[in-house]
């Protein structure tokens, strides 16, 4: 292994640490400082503001629905992609990745064009059937599902193809039906991958901003999520509450990150 000289090593170390410190570490820690510089009142104040509480509840509801839908869809698609052969599989696996590269605003626009109640392709007929998608929670859940779609699949697929299907075939030959095989054999072996995927999707879903902004209509107290309220509060010069909600969101997402970082190596050694 090539050794670099001590001054070069220190220089590289300094560049790496310095860049990350000024770009990420210092700014992120400043949010905590700003939130608590006047004591804890501002932070706990957000839980007494009805609009903020409504936004937090809505965010949680949307995120949980999106994660559940993506969990069912993700595990199904992963099993299909790894365990079966069918025409168009390659195209499907490439298309699954598409949501990661599409701008959130474009995601919102795409859903708007199809599901908008007035001008969308399917929107008017869905609205006649008594459902409202755009400017209401179904649209927000769809937008959140879209942006977090590949996360669970990307965790589960490598694990599924790594473990192979020997055990599943053994279970089948011993008389287990499809459901028993899935619950007793497949699910336990992909358990950790699914858990990572869920944590990542949850973090992504709680924090979605652009796509939700387009499809929600940003109606205060009705379709305003936590990320939208950060923007609204900041622009209304209520900086203390903007920083407080931002701190809460940052705290949750960094907690998700730490959970994944600590779970992963432990599981890999096992």
């Amino acid at each position: 292994m090539v050794e670099v000289s001590t001054p070069v090593r220190w220089l590289l170390r300094l560049i790496a640490v310095g860049y990350v410190f000024f770009l990420v570490a210092w700014p992120v820690s400043l949010v905590a400082v700003r939130t608590f510089e006047d004591g804890t009142d501002a932070f706990f104040g957000i839980f007494t503001d009805p609009h903020t509480v409504a936004a937090l509840q809505l965010t949680l509801m949307v995120a949980v629905w999106a994660v559940v839908i993506n969990l069912v869809f993700g595990v199904t698609i992963s099993l299909l992609l790894v365990r079966y052969e069918f025409p168009g599989k390659r195209v499907l696996s490439a298309l699954i990745d598409l949501p990661l590269s599409v701008s959130p605003v474009v995601v919102g626009l795409a859903l708007l064009l199809v599901f908008s109640g007035r001008t969308g392709w399917f929107g008017p007929s869905i609205e006649d059937a008594g459902w409202k998608v755009i400017y209401d929670s179904p649209g927000m859940i769809m937008a959140t599902c879209f942006v977090a779609l590949p996360l669970i699949i990307r965790e589960v697929v490598p694990v599924l193809s790594e473990i192979g299907d020997d055990q599943e075939q053994a279970a089948r030959s011993l008389g287990a039906n499809g459901r028993q095989t899935f619950l007793r054999i497949t699910l336990p072996s992909i358990k950790w991958a699914v858990i990572y995927g869920v944590v990542l999707s949850l973090a992504r879903s709680l924090g979605e901003f652009g796509a939700v902004k387009v499809v929600s209509g940003n109606i205060t107290g009705r379709t305003q999520t936590a990320t939208l309220i950060v923007e609204a509060k900041y622009q209304n010069f209520q900086q203390a509450s903007a920083y407080s909600v931002a701190f809460l969101l940052a705290f949750i997402s960094i907690a998700c990150l730490i959970v994944v970082a600590f779970l992963r190596p432990k599981h890999e050694e096992a």
Binding site: Y19, L23, Y84, G88, S93, G207, F209, R264
Partner: protein, 297 residues
């Protein structure tokens, strides 16, 4: 965290296959086989339901963008893109995304090198902090940067509402891409080759230039493509930080949103279709790079 976004199975799966030199798509494992069908009736039903949902959620809406963009014909399409304000936004976005990608190529590779080859106190903390930009909601990322580089900056910097703010936000959200694509490749790199080169009298610079960098190049290219496409499409982190001043700090995503808010969906779709095309080119390019590497290894 990052592997989910980058598709690097190397750090989620215990033993990566020996031929694996670059993070590649988890799904591309099986070589293109003759299209056969092994679906059972139950699996077929599952695929059917999954495809209906996927079409409703992703495919039909994205097709709707292209159809809407084409509704006014070519002249309307090009008129949208030729308007001064839109053109300024496109130039700013592409220019800043390119600068940020170049910064990431240099600094990201250095960070990956430090994380793999160096040992120092706090390295594991650095490793976790790299992922923070992925986990943080984008609007919070904007606010976070505003607290150090905005009006109340402890450094006395006033970068809010300038082009620098755009660069800063893009650099923040794209930080992990190259680090996380290069890191697993660097870990896998065979030390024997380097030692052989050294024993044959190659100097450090030569080893770096002739052995290490060529093996890292595909991973750097893949990370650069991801970082560029993310930078082009970024929206949330710029809202508070850049001020969205027309002709100065307005990026393409903001332009699309303005069109939507004015009810001008056709113009919005025209501009969005260009962004989709860029995303598609990046995906195809990544696939080609990764398959080339897989063939070589």
């Amino acid at each position: 965290m990052t592997s989910a976004l980058l598709g690097t199975p190397a750090d989620t799966v215990g033993e990566p296959s020996s031929g694996q030199r670059t993070p590649r798509r988890p799904f591309g494992r099986r070589r293109r086989a003759s299209p056969r069908n092994t679906l059972t009736p139950g699996a077929g039903l599952g695929l059917g339901i999954a495809m209906i949902w996927f079409s409703l959620l992703v495919l039909i809406p994205l097709i709707a963008i292209i159809v809407t963009a084409g509704e006014g014909g070519w002249s309307a399409y090009f008129n949208v893109l030729r308007s001064d304000q839109t053109w300024a936004a496109v130039k700013l976005t592409v220019g800043q995304a390119a600068i940020v990608t170049l910064i990431n190529i240099v600094v990201g590779t250095i960070i990956a090198w430090v994380l793999v080859r160096d040992q120092f106190w706090g390295k594991s903390l650095l490793n976790i902090i790299i992922d923070v930009p992925f986990a943080l909601p984008t609007i919070v990322a904007g606010l976070v940067l505003l607290s150090l580089y905005g009006p109340e900056s402890p450094l006395g910097l006033q970068w809010a509402n300038t082009e620098r703010a755009v660069m800063l936000a893009l650099a923040f959200v794209t930080l992990p891409f190259i680090v996380r694509t290069v890191q697993p490749v660097l870990e896998e790199l065979d030390a024997d080759v380097e030692e052989a080169a050294a024993s044959l009298g190659a100097r450090r610079g030569t080893i770096l230039r002739r052995i290490i960098l060529p093996s890292l190049a595909p991973a750097i290219a893949a990370g650069a493509a991801l970082s560029f496409s993310r930078a082009i499409s970024e929206y949330g982190s710029l809202v508070l930080l850049s001020g969205n001043l027309p002709f100065r700090t307005e990026v393409v995503s903001v332009r699309v949103l303005t069109f939507i808010e004015n009810g001008n969906t056709q113009s919005a779709a025209a501009l969005a279709s260009v962004m989709l095309a860029v995303a598609l080119v990046v995906i195809v390019a990544l696939d080609i790079v990764q398959r080339k590497v897989a063939n070589r290894g």
